[in-house]
């Protein structure tokens, strides 16, 4: 019998189908269930300002095959290597919430890219035995729509990062992400949630973290439908199936931090899995008015489309 925990100061979590050992507490993730070696480790340490072998140098990041450096001024530097390790170097006085915001977003996204996963920008909801993805640019209404479906009894699998990976039989599955969704206060109001009491994800942003609780589905599900959300100057909702090479182009432009793939060594893997997903799963563009007045109609139309898959065309 020992009074000392020999495993050391580490928290074990699971997210995106990976076992993650972290020296930082990450309440956004579910605790790990199994034993065994983690797939990825998150530690605090010193991160250099530059990547020595960088092939791509941008204002906020540098990249080379298997190595990625992210610099967020006033928050932290993150070094992501080999699809297995993230070293976090917080700046003095940085807020924990903000350190985690970029860790669980951009840095984890880079790690998943390095692992050759297909990382899409959007939310995922459970539908029957499968799941539907809502993709789109920031402000397209992905999280809001997922919450509206949650109100109607659908579970949520992912918010912001939607990770698709082939199972042993080659079937593409959405891997459940974090047990929270991030939403603007006014979006929360649209689905009758008072966000005032919820934790802010960033000091200077009115975006709040909503714990998903029992509505978080933590099992992988095959992807059965993909919607690309497009807010436009219009008064109605229009659903339009995508065909041919447009399907692959849509997945490309809705890949999470697509520019991180440059010089990552993962571009070929991304191309192959995106092409497989585009071939297997129906994709549609959802054109909607910019404001959210038609949210109930939008949900109704999408529910009908999920049942039939016909679109408007």
């Amino acid at each position: 019998m020992s009074l000392i925990d020999v495993k050391g100061a580490g928290h074990e979590y699971r997210a995106f189908g990976l076992q993650i050992r972290s020296s930082l507490p990450l309440p956004e993730m579910l605790p790990a269930t199994g034993e065994g070696e983690p797939d990825a480790c998150i530690d605090c340490g010193t991160v250099p300002a530059k990547l020595r072998e960088a092939m791509v140098v941008r204002k906020r990041f540098e990249a080379a095959p298997g190595a990625f450096l992210l610099r967020i001024e006033g928050v932290a530097r993150y070094l992501v290597t080999g699809g297995k390790r993230i070293v976090v170097d917080p700046e003095r006085g940085a807020h924990d919430e903000e350190v985690r915001l970029f860790l669980l977003g951009s840095a984890l996204g880079a790690l998943l890219h390095q692992r050759h996963d297909l990382v899409l920008h959007g939310s995922a909801i459970g539908d029957g035995g499968g799941c539907a993805l809502f993709l789109g640019v920031s402000g397209a209404g992905k999280s809001t729509l997922a919450l509206a479906f949650r109100q109607r009894g659908h579970p949520i699998l992912a918010d912001d990062l939607s990770v698709v990976r082939a199972d042993r039989d080659g079937r593409l599955e959405l891997q459940p992400g974090y047990q929270q969704a991030k939403l603007w206060l006014d979006s929360l109001a649209c689905v009758d949630i008072d966000g005032e009491g919820l934790r802010r994800v960033h000091r200077s942003m009115d975006k709040r973290a909503l714990p998903l609780g029992a509505s978080f589905l933590h099992f992988p599900r095959p992807v059965t439908r993909i919607y690309i959300l497009r807010p436009e100057e219009r008064d109605d909702v229009h659903i339009e199936p995508l065909r041919g090479s447009d399907r692959l182009a849509a997945l490309r432009s809705n890949t999470y931090r697509f520019r991180y793939l440059e010089s990552s060594g993962s571009k070929a893997a991304h191309f192959r899995s995106a092409a497989q997903l585009a071939r297997q799963v129906p994709l549609a563009i959802v054109r909607r008015p910019k404001d959210l007045r038609l949210l109930p109609e939008l949900v109704g139309r999408l529910e009908a489309d999920l049942r039939t898959g016909a679109g408007d065309a």
Partner: protein
């Protein structure tokens, strides 16, 4: 070959092996990993990309397309020329139009009565008739297409136009199979 002059019919188009391609309902998307660029091809472009699976001469490519699509030969030629140039400019294909050819070393020839079989280093067989066999012999030394046609016209009783057509097709077949190589500028 300058950029402005048309690619000759016997120019051989060879796909660069590195680009990745995916077919989506008959439309091809190609990713050139060297440049990181994506190319979305329409139905005709996709068909051309498929025909380029094996090295093929520009003329043979145009023949195939004219047979498959409802298109005038002249219009087709213009489009194909432009498309191939674009593929080449983007590093997706190599195009070579040598003036002089020579048979490749290491190809074995089995002579039968009135015909023969060429066997390459990998053991692939390619049957040739009497005229083909004679061409193979002539290709023992560097020779231009014009010289080949002239020599064959003297020996066999065929019209010059027909002879040129057949010699060119045969030569392109040999090049596509890697049995004949570019012998440098004439």
């Amino acid at each position: 070959m300058t950029a402005a002059s048309p690619l000759p019919a016997h120019a051989l188009v060879v796909r660069n092996p590195t680009p990745l391609a995916a077919d989506l309902d008959g439309e091809t998307v190609v990713l050139n990993l060297d440049s990181g660029k994506y190319y979305d091809m329409n139905a005709v472009g996709s068909r051309i990309w498929t025909l380029l699976e094996r090295p093929i001469a520009v003329g043979a490519l145009i023949d195939a397309l004219v047979g498959e699509f409802e298109v005038q030969r002249e219009a087709c030629e213009k489009e194909v020329q432009a498309f191939l140039r674009e593929l080449r400019a983007n590093g997706l294909v190599d195009i070579s139009a040598p003036e002089v050819f020579r048979r490749r070393l290491g190809v074995e020839v089995r002579r039968l009565t009135g015909a023969g079989i060429l066997v390459d280093r990998e053991g692939n067989h390619f049957g040739v008739n009497q005229v083909g066999l004679r061409m193979w012999d002539l290709l023992g030394e560097a020779i231009s297409l014009d010289a080949l046609v002239e020599a064959l016209g003297d020996e066999f009783d065929v019209s010059s136009a027909r002879c040129r057509q057949e010699a060119e097709a045969f030569l392109n077949e040999l090049r596509a199979r890697g049995l004949v190589e570019d012998a440098g500028p004439g």
